[in-house]
């Protein structure tokens, strides 16, 4: 796992390296010093001081509860009192549960659409915000504000907008489509979740794209101008390939984040109308509070394996890209 993620790290540097001084020579000397130090002391004591407490806290907070959760997924435990082993009954019931199937379908579909929307909008915004425009810093600040607002607050504000403001506008302008709140339409409510999630997620993605675009050397564009390439052609054939590693990072981070969708949906639709926007994470959390702990732990275990497979798939795709 650790080795596969390493090739990703240097790749954002690649475009910058093309335009600036070579780095290979400058990194070699500290590494020699490190090897020397290692010969004299076996391990720096500070290493243990920093690692052990972190390791203990991490183990207690993440892997240990996870293992306990997996254990209880084979029982009928509700969080208190007696329990007994059920074998695979929870898993069998889960795979025949239409609501859980629907929640996976919704979560994956929503994540795919949102990741595409977020990346396209962020990329175009980043191109605009790194161009020669006035009040660039002020504009960037404004665009980043949604990132620092809590998701639940955003969700409640948008719930009011969708339930009251948008229908009022639809009424005033006579646009029939807007008269009914999007949030009460079981077939379209997921679009509202995409819009609000994207609104919150775009700034983070935007910052990474701005960093990526700023690392592209201006000289390349000057050369392209001289060769007579149009601005659109420059965008598609120069900028996009040069920041492709940033696209990969944003896609992976975004997709993984959206799979865990929770707070925005809770505030915006509470999984409704009906169960049409119930995400996997919401089902799991509900299981803890409503006495279906073991069953939803089975769900969590399956979801863990699912996200693990998605991550491995993405990592292998990324490795393929980096080899090019």
């Amino acid at each position: 796992m650790a080795t596969t993620s390493l090739p990703a790290a240097p790749s954002p540097e690649a475009p910058r390296r093309a335009g600036s001084a070579p780095t290979a020579a400058s990194t070699s000397s500290p590494r020699d010093a490190g090897q020397l130090a290692r010969k004299h002391h076996k391990v720096e004591p500070v290493f243990w001081w920093m690692t052990i407490p972190t390791l203990i806290v991490f183990t207690l907070a993440i892997p240990l509860p996870a293992v306990m959760g997996i254990f209880y997924s084979f029982t009928n435990f509700i969080g208190v009192g007696n329990w007994r082993f059920l074998g695979l009954a929870n898993y069998v019931a889960m795979f025949s549960d239409p609501q859980i199937r629907a929640s996976y379908l919704f979560t994956v579909g929503f994540s795919l659409v949102t990741v595409v929307v977020v990346n396209i909008v962020s990329f175009l915004l980043a191109v605009g915000l790194t161009g020669r425009i006035r009040a660039k810093v002020a504009m960037r600040t404004i665009f980043v504000i949604p990132m620092v607002i809590s998701g639940i607050v955003i969700a409640y504000v948008f719930q009011f907008v969708f339930s009251n403001a948008v229908p009022a506008i639809g009424q005033a302008l006579g646009i029939g489509l807007l008269k009914e709140s999007l949030l009460t339409n079981p077939d379209l409510a997921w679009l509202a979740v995409v819009v609000v999630t994207a609104w919150q997620a775009i700034p983070g993605t935007l910052l990474i794209y701005i960093a990526g675009l700023m690392s592209v050397d201006e000289v390349i564009y000057e050369a392209a101008d001289i060769d007579g390439a149009s601005k659109f052609k420059q965008l598609m054939q120069l900028t996009l390939p040069l920041v492709s590693s940033y696209v990969v990072i944003n896609t992976i981070l975004g997709f993984k984040g959206f799979l865990n969708a929770y707070d925005i949906i809770v505030g915006l639709t509470a999984g409704g109308p009906g169960t049409s926007t119930m995400s996997v994470a919401m089902n799991i959390v509900n299981g803890l509070t409503n006495g279906d702990y073991a069953y939803q732990m089975a769900n969590a275990t399956v979801f863990f394996i699912f996200t693990l497979l998605v991550s491995l798939l993405q990592l292998s795709l990324m490795r393929g890209r980096n080899k090019k």
Partner: protein, 411 residues
């Protein structure tokens, strides 16, 4: 205040007993509207004796649940007795209170109601403190203006709706965006008014995992007629924007006389009074059949007392519980919250806003709302909402049947 409470809580968690030999017990109570009253009761109790110091924890059922898991629950719970709190009872995580004087004062009809929500065989685990009786909240002025009588049958109800609609008045004010208002009001009243819920749930339990289209008892068979009537009321006789209205909108609208009827419990009265303290309101049971004998009121055990097995101060908790159940304290509480006393010696509820359902409660013509009884693993609020927003009732009820069977299979 909060800091003191938090510090006291922390002290309790660590020590349990203070150096002076005084016992500290934690009393979990989180009914928002009742907190000022209960805080005063606790303060009075602490001042009246030196042996026990009671600390009130108002942080909610989530914290209580975590306390149970950690083996450090509150010493006394006075909590809404729904299927969520009832899990502690059904898993026998609370002690038997059958020998207490308070348990012996409970009216038999109320005891049946409590046991229907959850029981540990052979024990009296929860002693009811406050019962809420819910029905249709109606605007008496609007009814008087059009010479309308309180309807006793479903046909009379439809006539009332037609008259109101003809005069441009919204018959029912719906707040369908908040799914709990659909399950608590519309779904529960429609089911409770048309089905004998006690024998229905007994039938379901007897069938075990065998619940479906061909079973003797099922949601899709027994609930369907009531749900179809509910759909008529919701779609034909409710406000056009009901789908996007929330609970707060409904309370404001009722305070302003924008709707004639409202399917909410007595807790809504204090909210309505915030906008219009002079609103003249009353309550009647929703008629779902054409026989007035079938009229029943939806009740829920709004508060019940429980003492966890894991408490190390059970006797002190019992002593404080006796204090809480003194007639002057429990009666004053129920009078202020528009609740009904569950005891044989409880005072009558005389508030005109809820007196319309008093006789039904007294004579035991009542049912526990199915949304309080069905395990929460089945998302009744969401499913009821999808029905009221237009999904086919038969299909949704079939989903509930399948969920019920699936839940029974993994118990």
């Amino acid at each position: 205040m909060a800091v003191v409470a938090a510090a006291a809580l922390a002290g309790t968690a660590l020590a349990g007993c203070s150096a002076s030999g005084q016992q500290r017990i934690v009393f979990a109570f989180n009914k928002r509207e009742g907190i000022p009253y209960m805080q005063k009761v606790v303060d009075d109790y602490n001042a009246s004796q030196k042996k026990v110091h009671v600390v009130m924890d108002t942080s909610g059922i989530g914290t209580t649940a975590a306390g149970f898991v950690r083996g450090n629950p509150p010493d006394l719970l006075l909590a809404n007795f729904n299927n969520q709190a009832a899990r502690y009872v059904t898993h026998c995580a609370t002690i038997d209170l059958s020998e207490t004087a308070e348990a012996k004062r409970v009216r038999p009809a109320v005891k049946t109601l409590v046991d229907g929500v959850g029981e540990c065989p052979g024990r009296t685990s929860a002693v009811p403190y406050s019962i809420m009786a819910a029905g249709v909240i109606y605007n008496k002025q609007i009814f008087a203006r059009y010479n309308l009588e309180v309807p006793q049958t479903y046909d009379e109800l439809i006539e009332v709706c037609k008259t109101l609609k003809a005069h441009g008045i919204i018959p029912f004010y719906g707040t369908f965006f908040d799914s709990w208002t659909v399950s608590q009001g519309w779904f529960d009243y429609a089911a409770g008014g048309s089905v004998d819920l006690k024998s229905f749930f007994n039938g379901l339990d007897a069938q075990g995992t065998d619940v479906g289209p061909d079973s003797a008892v099922s949601f899709q068979k027994n609930f369907l007629p009531g749900m179809q009537k509910m759909m008529v009321l919701a779609r034909t006789y409710s406000n056009a924007d009901a789908n996007s209205r929330i609970y707060g909108d409904g309370n404001t609208a009722m305070a302003q006389g924008k709707g004639a009827m409202y399917l909410q419990g007595p807790w809504a009265f204090s909210e309505i009074a915030k906008t219009n303290p002079k609103a003249q309101l009353g309550t009647f049971p929703l008629p779902m059949t054409n026989d007035p004998k079938n009229l029943k009121v939806a009740v829920n055990v709004d508060l019940a007392a429980m003492i966890p097995e894991q408490s190390s101060h059970q006797q002190a908790a019992k002593d404080f519980m006796s204090y809480l159940f003194q007639p002057r304290i429990i009666d004053a509480y129920n009078a202020s919250q528009l609740g009904y006393g569950p005891l044989t010696d409880s005072a009558a509820q005389n508030d005109p806003r809820v007196s319309g359902v008093q006789s039904y409660y007294q004579s035991g013509q009542m049912y526990a709302g199915p949304s309080y009884v069905i395990p929460q693993a089945i998302p009744i609020p969401n499913l009821a909402q999808s029905m009221i927003l237009g999904a086919d009732p038969k299909g949704v009820l079939a989903v509930i049947d399948a969920d019920w069977a699936r839940f029974a299979r993994r118990q």
